[in-house]
Subunit: 334 residues, 2 copies
Amino acid sequence: MHALVYTGTQQLVYREEKNPKITNGESIVKVSASGICGSDMHAYHGKDSRRIPPLILGHEISGTINEGKFAGKKVILNPLITCGECDYCKNGKEHLCGKRIILGMNRPIERQGGFAEYVSIPDRNVYELPKTLEIKEAPIAEPTAVALHAVELGEKELSKPLRDVKALVIGGGAIGLLSGLILSKIKKCKEIVIADPNNKRLKECSRYLDGEAVNPDSKSIIDNHFDIVFDTVGLEITRQQAIKVVKPGGVIIHIGLTQPSGNFDFRKATLQEITFVGTYCYTNKDFEKTLSILADKQIGSLNWIEYRKLKDGSLAFQEIHNGSCSAPKIILLI
Amino acid sequence: MHALVYTGTQQLVYREEKNPKITNGESIVKVSASGICGSDMHAYHGKDSRRIPPLILGHEISGTINEGKFAGKKVILNPLITCGECDYCKNGKEHLCGKRIILGMNRPIERQGGFAEYVSIPDRNVYELPKTLEIKEAPIAEPTAVALHAVELGEKELSKPLRDVKALVIGGGAIGLLSGLILSKIKKCKEIVIADPNNKRLKECSRYLDGEAVNPDSKSIIDNHFDIVFDTVGLEITRQQAIKVVKPGGVIIHIGLTQPSGNFDFRKATLQEITFVGTYCYTNKDFEKTLSILADKQIGSLNWIEYRKLKDGSLAFQEIHNGSCSAPKIILLI
């Protein structure tokens, strides 16, 4: 099969690879579309210890079952594979399973990803494509589930409903925009600021999101002002902004993983009782809820997604890296 | 009046000071007992920007009303003075009030503290001493309220009851021991580890707390093991231990303020969905609940408190500084 293979830092090669083989309880999917995620970019930069070259990246995947129980069905994949038996799995927190693995990773266990013609997946990670959702846009389900999980973790922490809070979203990538759209269109939050240094992206976000789209140094980002801050970037500098602008008793939801450690103002976190919540992926329930959100078009138009061909994937990674790409999400079509 | 005055880094002088004057809505308290808090130690080390010498420290106070509405009554003081009018004050979160001030601070507003014969206090910060509580041990109410607030913030975050969790308390000072006692005796938590490098203190803690008292490098402090970790120290190194040993989906409650910033593993916080909660003081409700806990002897014997005379206060500070003092709490008697 053809596949886009991550072969080294900032190197992707479109080449012939061996087809995946079917195993018990699994299916082979003929991939239709595969989205590029921030964590793929992180791997591309040589900074992800879970993704070591050579590897086929990609875990936001839609396609048609080629071999397996549901052969012929159009599907969306939940790429988070878990043991199903531990306390986390049994209590609806599958995403915290100690044996979890995601498609397009090879540490601790190898699972080739979706930037290829075919990919293997356990049957229980397969969801039927809702009729109202186009197969090419369906990979957006995965980051939407990430954003939904993050927003609802924040919702649980707040002492007032999301519709009444001031929210700041740091980062205008897919997770930032999707968090903003869920806050606005589903949770009815009326005061949303979204911040990104890339003006092209901001413009794109502001076409779809009912909020204020600004640069990170904007005067709209007031100190001690926001009830909740979503850091979808995860740099030392974005975390430092988050803690500066969150108000006493407020909440920081931390989704990004760009810089794994760094300095932080624990004094304010303590004296002002800030709650900092790390968030990762989604539960199975979140994934199912996301599919119904997308089927019902609850987050509006998905025209902010840009589509490229898999064979041109290397250029897409490069453009995201350069910042010359304005789209919050690029999906590769196979 | 006589007072123990903080005159410079590691300098305390017992000397004559002006008596406080009564103002509208306030009382003058003849102080009976005044506890030494970690934050007083922080000031003593010249590291608290809210406590600038010369200043009378001390905010854990019991005594008798000398002048004012309740003259003659034996009282415990809630040293956290708030505006009573802001959103925080009106919604039971007085401790987050933007105008809050604590006795024994002089930034942004001066309020002389309790290491003196007399102290002034707003009438609404005065609580009657429960009959079953000795006036000399009553200052323990303040740190007990801090610990209760911290434990109950943690309780809200957990997905299972405190009686079923594994808890680590970092630090065997008053806040650490009190958090442990509340966890054990009130919340019925059965698996508590308390860690401190000071073996004398550990021994003292283990006499009162039904838990394992260990050094910070003990094998009992297992990585990814604890549902909840209380960092009552707040050093970079204790926060790093907290994030290392908390289990996926777990909670860190951060009470200490020793090191205001520092490096932290945000990667684990994110990938393992750790919730980090800063906690500060207590609400009025917490303070009232604490008084009934102490009145009912719910946390058991308070014989771990050591008593000294106010005039010998300087030596007590020195011994706490040196680590030669084993008591988790020293209360100065006036």
